[in-house]
């Protein structure tokens, strides 16, 4: 009980000294056009690959991400996995916060249409009718959140959103409200999209402390960061 009271007064005190309830983008990783950037600096480039999947495989071996489950994943999850691995190596938030209070909020445009198309092909031909459970399980976009959660033992709030384009206004407003109302202590957030050989991932961490990368998590700042990485 004393603990709870202490936490309550600590929050109240924090709110008094920090009326704006600012939160910060503390690290960022983007994967696009054969480039991987960490905190705005290009860290890995491989533009020789003809396909997006080949590029992801080359990144997987470059970063020595030893995780056999990777090979079972569909392309969307592969992209999410690589981006989140690099992000969380840069900023180990799972060591700083309780696993039950870390949120994962990710969005994209094409949902799981890449693998949906594969499942549709498997059921379109009556003579060659082979729907596969190993494919069907990936026909939901939030599976990529599940893969990140399993890998890092993260158990907090999780939601997958679908937008035409990355919506910095919504993402910053909603995630700040989660942190400010004590629904989460930190968040892995961003955009992971893969469809018809086009891919784009942009994941970042949000914390209430001004640490590391340290850009304020506002609509304007987030938009700028996203545009720079796009």
């Amino acid at each position: 009980m004393a603990d709870v009271m202490l936490q309550f007064y600590f929050r109240k005190w924090k709110q008094q000294i920090n009326m704006s309830n600012s939160n910060y983008i503390t690290s960022v990783c983007s994967v696009k056009n054969g480039n991987i950037s960490i905190n705005n600096k290009i860290d890995f480039t491989n533009t020789e690959n003809s396909s997006a999947v080949d590029f992801l495989k080359s990144a997987y071996s470059h970063y020595q991400l030893n995780y056999p489950k990777f090979y079972k994943m569909d392309s969307l999850c592969k992209l999410a996995f690589i981006t989140s691995e690099i992000l969380l190596k840069t900023n180990r938030i799972t060591e700083k916060y309780n696993q039950e209070d870390i949120a994962i909020i990710i969005a994209n445009s094409a949902s799981s249409l890449e693998i949906d198309t594969e499942h549709q092909k498997a059921i379109s031909n009556k003579e060659n009718y082979f729907p596969s459970p190993a494919v069907f399980v990936y026909t939901l976009p939030n599976i990529l959140i599940g893969e990140i959660a399993i890998r890092n033992k993260i158990k907090g709030e999780n939601t997958f959103f679908i937008f035409d384009k990355f919506d910095a206004d919504f993402m910053s407003t909603y995630i700040n409200s989660l942190l400010n109302r004590n629904k989460a202590t930190s968040c892995i957030a961003g955009w992971v999209d893969f469809y018809e050989n086009n891919y784009e991932a942009f994941l970042y961490t949000v914390e209430s402390q001004h640490e590391g990368f340290g850009i304020e998590h506002t609509n304007e700042q987030l938009n700028k960061l996203y545009t720079n990485n796009a």
């Binding site: 949902s111 249409l113 949906d116 059921i123 959660a149 999780n158 937008f163 909603y174």
Partner: protein, 394 residues
């Protein structure tokens, strides 16, 4: 001490399902324990006979034709337009065209049947994107805010309600229309069949002889507001008190063996609602009738000290309506609170889950002030939301 001062109220609701095209019609059928699930011998959704809850095409088209719309809409969009239109007709205080009103759309697969070549020819290619489906609905109702789409497997509907509550607390909007919809497609049925997850009879939630899910289709609409004046003056008001989501961090396609993830979502929900487990009067469970899901739920409910609370599953009435389920089942819970009637679990006979829980067998009269709705889904996700009834002073 952490209670939020902004209250979020239910202003209107609708269910479109095989049981009827209004919440009232659906609730009447449920009271009489009539199911929408039936055996489809020949259908375009399955190569073999399958039990499912499917809306009759003629009934849907007849109802839709009364709206005198000349443009072409998909089957799913027709269900949504009918559902939202009826919900708006229930409450004239709601102005969907206002810039303070926002649409939150919950769906797992949206217009996925457009991937089928023949169906796809009838519409623009982008119509298969979930954001475009939401835009089509927003344009039809002349709402100019960009809709928010939640697509998070079988917890999407509950998440959309929680999101609606949270956005209303931020006060940028005063009205949020939470729309949950998914339609029956060969795409979804074949996938669940490949998993061997579809029951060879009508689903039997929590029953000892359960052997899988029944699938279903439908649309649920809940209109939420933070402006009490927009709620129609009746004997009772329903508010959304709390809600949370969580992840098992265990497996992408199987539920946790311990129920810890769902337990966490329930505990966070009760904490936000300022309620003790003993104050919960009724649980609207997820109850898909798969072996593992129902076992997992029984453990979470028991560990949350809710094992004595009357609980049902509606999956044997509506089938599993995926992105619509959380919304449709919450609406039934809301009507149970208003009418003090708890719906029995159709096809439930003998309890057969790991931990003893209190499953309602027959529909009965019982006072309900606090209703907890739970959900769990692929990707290891769980969610819970709490509705509270307030009796009006006058």
């Amino acid at each position: 001490m952490t209670e939020n001062l902004t209250k979020v109220y239910v202003a209107a609701d609708n269910i479109v399902s095989p049981l009827g095209f209004t919440s009232a019609d659906n609730f009447e059928c449920l009271k009489k324990m009539q199911t929408g699930v039936r055996l489809l011998e020949h259908s375009n959704i399955s190569s073999e006979p399958v039990y499912a809850s499917v809306i009759d095409n003629d009934k849907l088209n007849t109802a839709f034709s009364k709206l005198n719309i000349s443009e072409a809409y998909t089957r799913l969009e027709k269900m949504i337009i009918l559902s939202v239109t009826d919900a708006l007709n229930q409450n004239k205080n709601i102005d969907i065209t206002s810039d303070k009103a926002l649409l939150v759309f919950s769906s797992t697969k949206g217009n996925i049947d457009l991937l089928n070549e023949e169906e796809g020819k009838k519409f623009d290619k982008k119509r298969v994107y979930l954001w475009e489906t939401a835009n089509v609905i927003a344009r039809y109702f002349k709402n100019s805010n960009q809709p928010i789409v939640v697509s998070n497997a079988c917890i999407s509907g509950v998440l959309a309600i929680i999101l609606g509550k949270r956005l209303l607390e931020e006060k940028r909007y005063d009205t949020i229309l939470v729309i949950g919809a998914d339609s029956m497609t060969h795409f979804v049925v074949s996938g669940f069949q490949s998993f061997k997850a579809v029951s060879n009879e009508i689903a039997k939630p929590y029953d000892a002889s359960r052997n899988g899910i029944s699938l279903g289709e439908g649309c649920g609409t809940i209109i939420l507001t933070n402006n009490e004046a927009k709620v129609i003056k009746t004997k009772t008001k329903i508010s959304v008190k709390g809600g949370a989501s969580s992840n098992d961090a265990n497996h992408i396609s199987g539920p946790s063996r311990t129920g810890d993830g769902l337990l966490l979502a329930i505990e966070k929900t009760l904490k936000e609602s300022n309620l003790k487990p003993s104050e919960v009067d009724f649980i609207s469970g997820h109850g898909t009738a798969t072996l593992f899901n129902d076992d997992m739920e029984s453990l979470a409910i028991t560990n949350a000290k809710l094992d004595k609370v009357p609980m049902n599953s509606l999956k044997s009435y509506f089938g599993h309506t995926l992105g619509a389920a959380g919304v449709i089942e919450s609406i039934v819970g809301i009507h149970s609170m208003k009418e003090n009637v708890l719906i029995g679990t159709y096809n439930f006979d003998t309890l057969g889950v790991t931990a003893p829980i209190n499953i309602i067998k027959e529909t009965k009269i019982s006072g309900v002030n606090n209703c907890l709705k739970t959900a769990a889904g692929f990707g290891g996700c769980n969610a819970a939301v709490l509705f509270q009834k307030m009796e009006a002073a006058n």
